[in-house]
């Protein structure tokens, strides 16, 4: 450091000396030049001055001026260095203050932060991380973050670790971590790109966002729906069977009106049964417990059975059913139970939202490229403004009241979409208000 200083001073003194030398040289030359002047006097502001008198004074004045200039030059140069040092010192101090500031923010942040090394090991957990895991620094330093996951999420943790090693960022991935006491916590894990930290060139910042409470709440809600739905089945099956018995004339024949009333009870109850089934399926999807049971499935059989189920509504409204079976879609690998729910929903919607005497056509596409079921109706269609929300939960389009016969939960299409996605298929639709809709599912 002192080496640099002396070099610095040395350099600038040489420059000062050289400048002084040049200046004095120029002055001497100019004095020589003045000596050769033929005139012996100069007139300045109407006063005459003899050159001979002035000459020594000129040199003195010039010498003083030069000294002052040179002194100033040297001062500037020296103070430049100290000013530079001073600026550097101020900058360094403000930088340390900043660093101290951010260090504090990092340490005291309410969200768990970790700095990870190349191997994914925790180097610098903040206080919130220590609180989260219920550990002290020594217990967690050096541990691989991805090894701290709940055993059921092992596969996911290994996948995220692979991303980490490939330098890919991790964006709010849901995963379960396990604390020292063995508690399982749901988190959103994010890991950002490389940064340098202390002596580590390849350090990365990780954020652990605790969402356990949110998850537990969601789970409680879904479990409640499941429990309630199961409980509702007992009274609803009672009504079904009791009305069955009355309608089968087991206790004597029913009069016209008695029969109608009992039939109404039975029909409305069937609606409740369907609603409960839908609620249970939705809750299963939300809980991730919808199990797919792949079997060789005959789609045309499923369609036929759904048409039989809906035959009374179809007849009542005199709906024309057109079947275009391009292939039979027999023997495809799918879950017949779930697929039936999908087909039932689509055809039932088509019938429900079509005016009397309308047409519902069902097309089966069975080619190498595409296996699809297309349900088209000539009904009320879906208004354009409602189309993007049609698959969301509890949504019914604005024009459902056009046909007084329609009753719906707003869950059907949400369920259908969830099932299709779970089975690895897809659903799409085209619709025009008052012209009709076409729904296509690909398997």
């Amino acid at each position: 450091m002192s080496n640099k200083k002396s070099t610095f001073i040395g350099e600038h003194l040489i420059i000062a000396g050289a400048s002084l030398f040049i200046l004095l040289g120029l002055l001497y030359l100019s004095s020589l030049f003045m000596e050769d002047f033929s005139t012996d006097s100069i007139t300045i502001f109407g006063t005459e001055f003899l050159i001979a008198d002035i000459q020594p004074h000129i040199i003195q004045i010039l010498f003083i001026v030069v000294s002052v200039l040179v002194s100033y030059l040297i001062y500037l140069l020296l103070s430049l260095r100290t000013r530079a040092e001073l600026t550097a010192a101020i900058a360094t101090r403000s930088l340390s203050n900043s660093l101290a500031h951010f260090e504090k923010l990092y340490e005291e942040a309410p969200v768990p932060y970790v700095i990870l090394n190349e191997k994914g090991e925790i180097i610098k957990p903040n206080k919130a991380t220590l609180r989260f895991f219920g550990v002290v620094l020594e217990e967690i330093e050096g541990k691989n973050l991805f090894s701290l996951c709940f055993e059921e999420d092992q596969e996911k943790a290994e996948k995220l670790f692979r991303y980490y090693k490939s330098n890919l960022p991790i964006n709010s991935e849901e995963i379960r971590l396990i604390t020292k006491k063995g508690a399982v916590k749901w988190v959103l894990l994010s890991v950002f790109g490389e940064t340098s930290f202390n002596n580590l060139k390849k350090a990365r910042l990780g954020v652990i966002f605790d969402i356990t409470e949110r998850k537990q709440l969601d789970q409680a809600k879904t479990e409640f729906v499941s429990l309630a739905s199961h409980q509702l089945r007992t009274p609803v099956s009672t009504i079904r069977w009791y009305t069955d018995m009355l309608l089968s004339n087991s206790f004597g024949e029913l009069s016209g009106e008695q029969k109608e009333y009992v039939e109404t009870i039975h029909k409305v109850n069937q609606g409740m049964i369907e609603l409960i089934d839908t609620l249970l399926n939705v809750s299963r999807i939300e809980m991730g417990s919808l199990k797919i049971d792949l079997k060789p499935t005959n789609v045309s059989d499923l369609v036929e059975s759904v048409l039989v189920e809906l035959s009374s509504q179809i007849e009542e409204k005199n709906i024309n059913i057109e079947k275009n079976y391009g292939g039979n879609l027999e023997n495809i690998e799918s879950d017949p139970k779930l697929l039936r729910i999908v087909i039932q929903n689509l055809i039932s919607n088509a019938v429900k939202y079509t005016q009397p005497n309308g047409t519902v056509s069902i097309t089966l596409k069975d080619s190498f490229k595409e296996k699809a079921i297309v349900v088209t109706d000539t009904g009320v269609g879906i208004p354009e403004k409602d189309q993007e929300k049609i698959f969301t939960k509890l949504f019914r389009a604005g024009n459902v009241d056009v046909l007084s016969s329609s009753q719906g939960t707003g869950l059907g299409l949400y369920l259908v979409k969830s099932i299709m996605e779970t089975m690895g298929g897809s659903i799409s639709f085209v619709s025009e208000e008052n012209k009709g809709s076409t729904f296509t599912i690909t398997i």
Partner: protein
């Protein structure tokens, strides 16, 4: 009377009084002899005492539920081969899987079945 002797015996095990009553009425009207139980413990006793030709077994019951009753039934020499149809409101795959393991002939959800459906199934199961 000979007719009485030829009637097949059905044991209905369900904790819900209404459902038990309507099942009993329907099965009797369809030509069966019907025995009742309102929980798994009573059901097990009556099954071992009367050796019914088929048992309609609910799952959710107090004192002893249907799953436990079925596994205990299978420990008995006669009970091991008894014909059982599970009739429940629960659709959990674990419960259904357990019923399969314990060799119940079928597992039906109550709300999926009409009275006639149940009689049909019972008759079909008794054929073999």
């Amino acid at each position: 009377m000979e007719e009485e002797q030829n009637k097949k015996k059905v044991l209905v095990v369900d904790d819900d009084d209404n459902l038990r009553r309507v099942l009993t009425d329907k099965l009797k009207a369809s030509g069966f002899e019907v025995i009742n139980a309102s929980n798994g413990e009573e059901g097990l006793e009556k099954a071992l005492a009367h050796h019914p030709d088929i048992i309609l077994l609910d799952v959710m019951m107090p004192i002893m539920n249907g799953q436990v009753m079925l596994s205990k039934l299978r420990e008995d020499e006669w009970g091991e081969k008894a014909k059982v149809i599970m009739l429940s409101v629960i659709e959990d795959s674990e419960v259904i899987a357990q019923a399969v393991v314990d060799r119940s002939l079928a597992y039906f959800i109550k709300t999926d079945q009409s009275m006639d459906d149940i009689v049909k199934r019972v008759k079909a199961m008794l054929e073999d």
